[in-house]
């Protein structure tokens, strides 16, 4: 692992007990778990945008929340600038949280509808004691609104969220995070609920904040095309595990894991002259992923299996420059 990592995650796991009906509860012997995050390790460098891409339910959100300790991990360690976050007491976590923030998918649901834009930001300033007095607070809010391009700021100051477009609301959400001067931001599907025409504007904003303030991002999405646009590296998740992680263009142009290959070729292309090909994958994601894997977890859906794939779970190993894959065929 490189030394100047802002974030280092080691063997992180988060299991949820499977909810059962009373009958199932009485009849089965052992407790079952959804392995939402199942032994994940990676690091994020300063100013890096690391994408996490995978299908619904593969554990992206759970991972993001566990890193920030919004939920407690089952096991594993998370280090922020060398400090072990996972062993800190609640109070220390709170003060660290200023530096590690999250942007949510639904800008509508996460903003209080009864507060104006300025009130929403002011609340954050007060909670974290960011300003001495009203003048300083107003100054800070004004600067933040300018940074997220809600200009002229007077026009947005007293507006309620309902009178903002989706893109503007997401900008307020980003402003609320930015005002804390975070070092690491987990952005969970920040544009998936927005209009196509305003999405790129939000992504450009995130990239600008990265360049200007050196903020690192964990960018969570199921959309590889937009991930390609913002990410330096991409990690592909399948059933709670990273099965491939590499620089963005390598994931897009030279995917090595059969699942990544299927994912990449499934992405629709905005070009009617490109024809659809048969997908190199079979079957479906299990409805409740509660299985314990002694084989490769992609085995049931893989078209290139060997005997060994059934016998053990392949580890994530480096097969090229900064390119890691968990598949025995990718050597």
């Amino acid at each position: 692992m490189k030394k100047d990592a802002v974030l280092r995650v080691e063997n992180l796991k988060k299991y949820f007990p499977v909810r059962k009906s009373l009958f199932e509860f009485m009849s089965s012997k052992k407790e079952e778990y959804v392995r939402a995050v199942d032994d994940v390790s990676f690091s994020v460098q300063e100013g890096e945008v690391l994408g996490f891409v995978g299908e619904s339910g593969c554990g992206k959100t759970t991972m993001g929340r566990t890193i920030l300790r919004l939920i407690e991990p089952t096991s594993g360690r998370v280090y922020y600038e060398g400090i072990e976050v996972t062993s800190l007491d609640r109070k220390r976590v709170k003060s660290l949280r200023r530096k590690m923030q999250m942007i949510f998918q639904d800008p509508h649901g996460s903003l209080n509808p009864r507060r104006t834009v300025a009130d929403i930001l002011s609340q954050t300033v007060k909670i974290h004691g960011l300003a001495n007095g009203k003048t300083e607070e107003d100054e800070l809010i004004k600067n933040t609104l300018e940074e997220v391009e809600l200009k002229p700021t007077e026009e947005f100051w007293d507006r309620y969220p309902i009178l903002l477009s989706g893109g503007q609301r997401q900008r307020v959400g980003i402003g609320r995070v930015l005002i804390l001067q975070p070092k690491l931001v987990v952005a969970d599907e920040p544009i998936s609920m927005l209009d196509v025409s305003v999405r790129i504007g939000i992504l450009e904003l995130l990239l600008r904040l990265r360049d200007k303030f050196g903020i690192s991002f964990i960018y969570i999405t199921h959309d590889l095309s937009t991930a390609r646009y913002v990410c330096d590296r991409i990690a592909i998740m399948y059933l709670g595990k990273i099965i491939e992680i590499a620089p963005t263009e390598d994931i897009i142009n030279k995917p090595l894991h059969p699942y990544t290959q299927a994912l990449v070729s499934a992405v629709p292309v905005p070009d009617p002259t490109v024809k659809m090909h048969e997908l190199p994958i079979k079957g479906y994601v299990p409805l409740i992923p509660a299985e314990v894997f002694s084989s490769c977890r992609f085995y049931p859906r893989c078209l290139h299996t060997r005997k060994k794939c059934r016998e053990e779970e392949p580890p994530l190993i480096e097969v090229g420059h900064d390119h890691y894959v968990a598949c025995i065929k990718a050597k």
Binding site: E55, G166, S197, L224, S225, L263, V274, M276
Partner: protein
């Protein structure tokens, strides 16, 4: 005459704040061998437009003008009995977010047979046979006919909805955002199914989406909607290669692709307008880099350019 002809359709929602001009003077047609993509951002009126085709528009919404001619008959003036016959056997629709519309306490087989029995005089046994065939058709084994919706994933529920919609051999199928919110692999499998059905059943389709890339994979021609109006119509290939309307151009330039060189993208300034007080003149003018005085004053009419129908003042 085309199978479906929509002419100067206007649908307004009469709310307390005023009339929402959700569909405002919209015309398009779909022929027997065509797939029309209706593309546009959230709230531009796509669902409202196709609701009118099924005559599902309900208060506060009202069709305030235009014609909808299906196979020679005007849907707007049909009797309720004619409409009942039309839905299902004439035109069928898979609603937006339809996966959630399945009845949770009824097996999927039962839900398919109910639709068939409503429209056709056949026995119960025959309807169950048909239900099984429908499930096979959409790539779900007929052995799952007695399963309940919760036993299916989102993509499979969407397949069930398509099985229901095509159960009575409609002559036009409307799909409202059929793959939105689904994972890409599931999405691709569904698009493949839709293309297969179109060929095998020779079924004309209206395909609604906000996703340019999904249109590219399914539709022969496309209509771009913006703020209650169609701004450009063309064959899909031509639209992507040579978009004429500034909005179509901007939309395509704002769209990332996973294929080819990574190219620069351009965001469109501003946001779509609210339809209570849409901008005067061309509705896109506040966001258009080429807007001149006439765009702020007069509504553009449709003109032909490169085989496209375009509503923009820049075309003379």
């Amino acid at each position: 005459m085309a199978l479906l002809e929509v002419e100067n359709l206007k649908i307004y929602y009469f709310t307390r704040e005023g009339a929402v001009k959700a569909v405002d003077d919209v015309s398009f047609s779909v022929d027997r061998d065509e797939t029309l993509g209706l593309i546009g951002e959230s709230g531009c009126g796509k669902t409202t437009a196709v609701f009118a085709i099924m005559r599902f528009v309900a208060p506060p919404g009202r069709i305030v003008g235009g014609k909808i001619i299906f196979d020679g008959n005007d849907i707007i003036t049909m009797s309720n009995e004619e409409i009942r016959l039309l839905r299902g056997k004439g035109i069928a629709m898979v609603f937006q977010a339809a996966q959630n519309a399945l009845n949770p306490v009824m097996t999927v087989g039962k839900q398919i047979t109910e639709v068939i029995l409503e429209h056709e005089r056949i026995t119960k046994e025959e309807s169950w046979e048909r239900a099984k065939r429908q499930l096979e058709l959409v790539g779900i084994g007929s052995e799952r006919v007695k399963n309940y919706p919760h036993e299916f994933s989102g993509g499979m529920k969407q397949r069930v909805m398509i099985a229901i919609a095509t159960a009575c051999n409609p002559r036009l199928l409307i799909l409202d955002e059929p793959v939105t919110g689904l994972d890409v692999i599931v999405q691709r499998q569904l698009l493949t199914l839709i293309n297969k059905l179109r060929k095998e059943l020779r079924l004309p389709i209206i395909f609604i989406t906000h996703d340019l890339s999904v249109i590219a994979e399914t539709c022969g021609k496309v209509a771009v909607m913006y703020a209650g109006k169609i701004v450009e119509q063309a064959s899909t290939v031509s639209l992507y290669e040579n978009p004429v309307h500034p909005y179509s151009q901007a939309l395509i330039r704002a769209y990332p692709s996973i294929k080819g060189e990574k190219r620069g993208l351009k965001s469109i300034p501003g946001a779509p307008p609210r339809l209570i007080n849409p901008p005067i003149g061309c509705r896109f003018h506040p966001r258009c880099p080429y807007a001149v005085n006439i765009c702020r004053e007069e509504e553009p009419i449709f003109r032909k350019k490169n085989g496209h129908l375009v509503a923009c003042h820049s075309i003379k």
